[in-house]
């Protein structure tokens, strides 16, 4: 390895506060333009309204930026926080961090939820959240050392560029013989050269003796990190026990934590087996229900899907404990050992690959017409080490491939690359080009929204057609589920605050398979409750998987099986046991509502956050092309006749597409009306005065924004 140098630019010594009921009660602020390090207090008001995690991030970011701030302006902040329960080893899934910033893809707030040890180590080192602003001309490494009570900024030179080797190097550098005490946040060259850069957060795998990583993938956060000149942020902390959070009621915490842990251990082997196969079970299931995106979301099924499903990955994953936080009994973060890439800088070398998960398999596999696990694993490896989001890479490449197949672009635009669906070497080459900032890969790396502009402006491609098939909304690429047959999930994507990511609401099965929400009111209720409850995990430092990916055996006999209320009640007990603040299941929803509405208003501040911004491309709603319609003629014909009372006799496919589109687009608009009403928003999708008052977010700046957008205050 090349020799590297790290010279200290500033050292900040501090007295580490005692953690009280899950809070350090201060945040760390670093302006890397002039290497200034400072500490801000966390007020009771912050805790009451914003809870922690994403809530704290949003508040810090709101105060850092103004309404004209762009992603690459120095005042844009990268905020990272865990939450009051973050770092609890006794409760499954309690080590998450949330990262927020102004996104290069959307121009508004992005948030991304990630595992690894960083968030808890940051808090135990004395800081509920980290806020980094400014820009450095030199590459810097930030080191937060909770053991020796100092924060340091180093000027770094000669360090590896890619995250895989960089994480390992910095883990060893700072470990003082105890690598488990270290967590590294870094990105790679892809983040510098595209708009879809991710961050890698490490956790140390004691058995395999290596730094592993999880990704804060969405929205190009890695690009902001790289643009600021940050090479890495490293946290160092010591042993973690249930006491480290100094919970208000340790006995109740242990009790409820053990109950949930035990249930996961007992039931996961009988249910989804995530401790063995992660989320790969979703591949064949989605395929069976016509929900696995293939060929840029044209179809939901493919005869070769089993080649990239759980039966294959069960054999490929390296067996062993794979918890991205200590004590997580669901332990779903699997990896592939001794993988040998066929291309790129690691060609022929043995590497460890973290993943793939369902999203990567669908994004970099089926959606590109690729059904070969080796290619998917190689794309997974290079996306991570180059610091690229596998979802945006997959969805953007799928769009480019469809444009190529349709002749909207050709080899003169792709620099001779044959971008037909299924071309594995081309897909890998795109990723390498993204990392190098070269060729057509560099264009794909700008994301679907920018590609639509470039293809139409420079290559004469039809903008309306691209609007229909380009799978982005709010500027963010869709994650990997088909939504054509689930109106509720169209809302789950289209009404999501940051753009079409499924972490707010995944309602496809409840809506399409179980028919739990047949009316608009029921869909609206689901599009209120689920996003609110899922938001709550991000406020507290938690992973949502143990909530509903393992389900109590008697759950189906409860009133609302989709909500898994037994677990929701455990979470309320868990919150109270750590923070000492009494709450109930309804109380959790109320906590999220304040932060959720605040984020909607933040979008408004940045020039978005209104009805028109919740539009989605027609590909997400129904069939765009005749081949799509004709691949499922029976289904669509039946709907026209039975649901919409259309006489289809003698009608061409093109005519039927137009009719179906009219109906479906109207339904989507009707859904918006119902959801806005349920959420306490105006018909233009803006929270009302009553809503912000009820939630305690009626700050003067908020009211002023509402007034400026015609909302009566």
């Amino acid at each position: 390895m090349k020799e590297y140098k790290m010279e200290p630019l500033n050292t900040f010594n501090y007295d580490r506060p005692v953690i009280e009921k899950g809070y350090a009660n201060q945040t760390l602020c670093i302006d890397i333009s002039d290497f200034v390090i400072s500490v801000k207090p966390v007020t009771e008001k912050m805790k009451n309204v914003f809870i922690g995690g994403k809530g704290f991030d949003l508040w810090l970011l709101w105060n850092a930026v103004n309404n004209t701030t762009k992603w690459n302006d120095p005042e844009n902040a990268i905020c990272i926080a865990s939450g009051p329960m973050g770092g609890t080893p006794v409760y499954p899934g309690s080590g998450k961090s949330i990262v927020t910033t102004i996104s290069p893809l959307t121009g508004s707030v992005i948030d991304s939820n990630v595992g690894g040890y960083f968030g808890p180590y940051l808090k135990f080192s004395g800081f509920d959240a980290l806020e980094v602003t400014g820009k450095s001309l030199k590459d810097v490494v930030i080191f937060i050392d909770g053991i020796d009570e100092k924060v340091q900024i180093f000027k770094a030179s000669g360090l590896p560029d890619d995250s895989y080797t960089l994480s390992a190097t910095l883990t060893e550098h700072f470990a003082k013989g105890k690598p488990r005490n270290i967590s590294v946040v870094s990105t790679g060259p892809g983040a510098k050269n595209t708009r879809m850069g991710c961050l890698n957060f490490t956790w140390y795998d004691l058995k395999r003796k290596r730094a592993r990583y999880k990704q804060a993938g969405r929205g190009g956060i890695g690009g902001v990190f790289a643009d600021k000149g940050i090479k890495a942020i490293v946290a160092r902390w010591n042993t973690v026990t249930t006491k480290t959070n100094n919970p208000a009621d340790a006995n109740t915490l242990k009790d409820v934590g053990r109950k949930h842990s035990r249930e996961v251990v007992e039931l996961d082997p009988k249910q989804n087996q995530m401790a063995q196969i992660g989320t790969t079970h979703l591949v064949p299931i989605m395929n069976d229900f016509d929900l696995l995106p293939t060929h840029n979301f044209q179809y939901g099924q493919h005869s070769e899907a089993d080649n990239i499903g759980q039966e294959v990955f069960r054999r490929i994953f390296d067996p062993g404990y794979d918890g991205c936080w200590m004590g997580c009994t669901l332990a779903c973060s699997h990896g592939v050992k001794d993988f040998v890439p066929l291309t790129g800088p690691y060609k022929g070398l043995k590497v460890f690959v973290d993943g793939p998960e369902y999203e990567t398999i669908a994004g970099c596999g089926s959606n590109l017409g690729i059904f070969d696990p080796h290619t998917i694993i190689e794309m997974n490896f290079y996306c991570d080490t180059y610091g690229l989001d596998t979802i945006s890479v997959g969805t953007s490449t799928a769009f480019a491939m469809e444009c190529f197949e349709m002749g909207l672009i050709n080899e003169s635009h792709t620099h001779g690359m044959n971008l037909l669906f299924g071309n594995r070497s081309a897909a890998l080459e795109v990723v390498h080009q993204m990392a190098r900032g070269e060729g057509f890969g560099q264009i794909i790396g700008r994301g679907v929204r920018q590609m639509k502009v470039i293809f139409s402006r420079d290559y004469g491609a039809d903008p309306d057609l691209m609007q229909d098939i380009g799978m982005e909304a709010k500027g963010l690429e869709f994650s990997e589920y088909m939504t054509k047959e689930s109106l509720a999930q169209q809302g789950g994507y289209g009404l999501a605050l940051k753009g079409p990511q499924h972490d707010e609401a995944w309602l496809i099965f409840l809506d399409m398979v179980h028919n739990f929400m047949p009316t608009f009111e029921k869909k609206a209720e689901a599009l209120h409750w689920f996003p609110m409850f899922r938001t709550w995990f991000g406020l507290c430092g938690l992973c949502k998987l143990p909530w509903n990916d393992v389900v109590p055996e008697d759950n189906k006999d409860t009133l609302e099986p989709a909500k898994v209320m037994k677990h929701v009640e455990w979470y309320a007990d868990y919150y109270t046991a750590v923070t000492g603040r009494q709450t109930t299941a309804d109380g959790l929803i109320r906590m999220s509502e304040a932060v959720y509405n605040f984020q909607r208003i933040f979008n408004l501040k940045m020039g978005f956050g209104q009805r028109e911004h919740d539009n989605i491309p027609y590909r997400a709603v129904g069939p765009v092309k005749t081949v799509e319609y004709e691949s499922r003629t029976e289904r669509y014909d039946k709907q026209l006749v039975e649901k919409h009372n259309v006489d289809i006799t003698g009608k061409t496919t093109e005519e039927k597409i137009v009719l179906l589109r009219e109906f479906r687009e109207k339904l989507y608009e009707k859904l918006k009306d119902a959801v806005y009403k349920r959420r306490g928003w105006t018909n233009n999708g803006i929270p009302t005065k009553e809503t912000v008052k009820r939630l305690g977010i009626d700050f003067p700046e908020v009211l002023e924004l509402l007034r400026a957008h015609g909302v009566e205050t």
Binding site: P284, I285, W506
Partner: protein, 65 residues
């Protein structure tokens, strides 16, 4: 004889997943069933035969990503 969610359950030649689910209440809530390590989804319940001595797991809910 087969096992369903760890409990012994009678079996007969030609038994499909649909047949098995008829023995359980609220069986419409099961959209996926696992036979040993293989997931079978609702569209295939009617035509999938359960082999003797299988371990069958009724997957309660698919929760997605």
């Amino acid at each position: 004889m087969i096992k369903v969610n760890g409990e012994k359950h009678s079996w007969y030649q030609g038994m499909t997943i649909k047949d098995l689910l008829n023995n359980f209440n609220k069986s419409h809530l099961y959209a996926v069933v696992r036979i040993n390590d293989k997931h079978i989804s609702m569209p295939y319940f009617e035509k999938t035969l359960i082999p003797d001595n299988s371990e069958v797991f009724l997957i309660p809910m698919i929760a997605g990503g």
